[in-house]
């Protein structure tokens, strides 16, 4: 019984009007969640945590750089799952959500590259190094841009979305390959110092702001995803009556 | 009756050979001239010579008023919406100082509603059907104040109501003191003022 209600719910979620209501109700809470967590995280990162004995205060960039990196990769995974659903079950909402995730993922990747490059300047003496992690992150940015460009190139948004979803899946396979192929270079980038599972070499007192900021970025992604998806849905259905009634009524 | 265009023994050479016997045409205000001739006899080339797109290989032409040419393809950017295309058209020809019509140019939205394209205002010109593109070309004429209209196959891909609309617009233009030169195949213009004819004959073989 539960399975059937779940299945019906899953498919009902796909109808535009239902999704529209959902993507109108949730975002305010998600934006609020983001605001709270980010405020706490930034406060702790800048005011509470003592400076690092080696890096001084420049390590505080970690609280923006690392969550952005994690979010960039997490967004791609979520996008790939959405793309899979969109391709297999042809659910339009999944297509929209996948397409709308690309700009957010690209923004996170850009943020990661920018903050990493700024952090690298005092620490390694150079803005950029052809290092394994940096290069694969840069390639990830190009994959995101490619997906956005491919989707934008099609006038027929359903076909464009399907084509871009295939590119997403291709990218999903390609990214670990790139990561390991560039791994063999002498890597300047520090090893994985933050391991949730293994023993983390970071001082425990530095941990809380990172947790807050990571959660904040998750809220950010969810809120931005649903808000953008709602806009894209309205844009695609703008010639339909339900959109016209909605948009003109609530002036 | 003010003369708008005076073309004397106009000819054009392609690969060194005259395409049609040099033709003379004088267009006065309030006149509509139908350029007639077999397929491929050079009607379009003649119109493009009048418009100034092609340099005449023979004869001379004197334009005493602004000209507007609508070819087979309505000249619009496919990526811009109908409204944007018309606004550009108005802006681009607004700078023209050669003799203007007395009637002020109407706004883009006004022009679109006159040719029945108002609902497609926001749609990209590339997504229009052939008939709709032709109507957009006509709307382009309304938006500029060029006294002389040079229309190549204005009735092509238009249904009967569209063709009647073209006739109405031409009538209105003639009443405002404009002049029209058009080429057409089957559908002859039905106007209040009878249209004159300007035959285009194939070039005599001897002429090189």
């Amino acid at each position: 019984m539960i399975w059937t209600t779940l299945k019906v719910g899953f498919h009902k979620l796909g109808t535009p009007q239902v999704f529209y209501r959902l993507s109108s109700l949730l975002p305010p809470w998600l934006w609020a969640g983001f605001g709270v967590c980010a405020a706490i995280g930034v406060y702790q990162a800048l005011y509470v945590v003592p400076p690092d004995y080696q890096q001084g205060d420049s390590f505080r960039i970690l609280y923006v750089h690392v969550p952005a990196a994690w979010q960039a990769m997490a967004t791609y995974v979520v996008m790939a799952v959405l793309a899979m659903i969109a391709l297999v079950w042809r659910i339009r909402v999944a297509e929209i959500m996948a397409m709308v995730s690309a700009p957010i993922g690209a923004a996170m990747t850009l943020l990661c590259l920018a903050t990493g490059s700024i952090w690298g300047r005092p620490m390694w003496g150079t803005w950029w190094a052809w290092d394994a992690r940096l290069t694969s992150m840069l390639v990830l940015l190009f994959v995101y841009l490619g997906i956005m460009a491919l989707y934008a190139a099609y006038d027929d948004h359903r076909k464009g979305a399907r084509v871009a979803c295939i590119l997403i899946l291709v990218g999903l396979i390609n990214i670990p390959i790139i990561h390991f192929s560039v791994e063999w270079w002498t890597t300047l980038h520090q090893g994985a110092t933050i391991r949730f599972f293994g023993e983390s070499t970071m001082h425990p007192s530095m941990m809380p702001p990172l947790v807050w900021m990571t959660v904040a970025f998750k809220f950010l992604y969810a809120a931005a995803l649903l808000t953008r998806a709602r806009n894209e849905l309205l844009r695609q259905d703008r010639s339909r009556n339900w959109v016209k009634l909605l948009m003109l009524k609530s002036t | 009756m003010q003369t708008l265009i005076e073309a004397h023994a106009l000819g054009f050479k392609r690969a060194g050979r005259l395409i049609f016997t040099p033709t003379t045409l004088t267009l006065h205000a309030g006149q509509c001239v139908v350029v007639s001739g077999a397929n491929g006899s050079g009607k379009t080339t003649f119109l493009r010579l009048l418009a100034g797109i092609l340099k005449p290989a023979a004869g001379a032409i004197e334009r005493r008023a602004g000209v507007n040419f609508v070819g087979h393809q309505a000249a619009f950017k496919a990526d811009l919406s109908c409204l944007e295309n018309l606004c550009f058209q108005h802006e681009f020809y607004a700078g023209r100082d050669a003799g203007k019509l007395l009637v002020p140019a109407i706004s883009a939205i006004e022009a679109l509603s006159q040719v029945g394209l108002i609902k497609l205002m926001r749609r990209r010109a590339g997504h229009l059907s052939a008939g709709q593109k032709k109507r957009l070309g006509l709307a382009g004429l309304l938006v500029t104040q060029a006294p002389v209209w040079l229309l190549d196959e204005p009735y092509a891909s238009l249904d009967e109501s569209g063709a009647q609309q073209v006739d109405r617009l031409i009538d209105q233009h003639l009443r405002h003191g404009g002049g029209v030169v058009l080429s057409t195949h089957r559908r002859q213009p039905v106007l209040s003022v009878p249209a004159l004819s300007c035959p285009i004959a194939a070039a005599a073989e001897a002429e090189t």
């Binding site: 980010a38 400076p51 205060d57 420049s58 850009l110 920018a114 700024i118 | 509603s113 108002i118 926001r122």
Partner: protein
């Protein structure tokens, strides 16, 4: 109130870039929504103009 960090320019520029990029994620949907609403309203007016012409 503003703590003085060593490497301050690097830290503050990083946070500024973060604020800018995250800010854009907040602002962009709002702008897009407003633009779409304006466009739909214009189309609505155009249709009314159309009915007025036909009537």
């Amino acid at each position: 109130m503003i703590p003085d960090f060593n490497y301050a320019p690097f830290v503050w520029s990083s946070y500024a870039i973060a604020a800018a990029i995250i800010g854009w994620q907040v602002v962009q949907p709002w702008l897009a929504h407003r633009a779409l609403r304006r466009e739909l309203r214009e189309d609505h007016l155009a249709e009314q103009l159309e009915q007025a012409n036909d009537a």
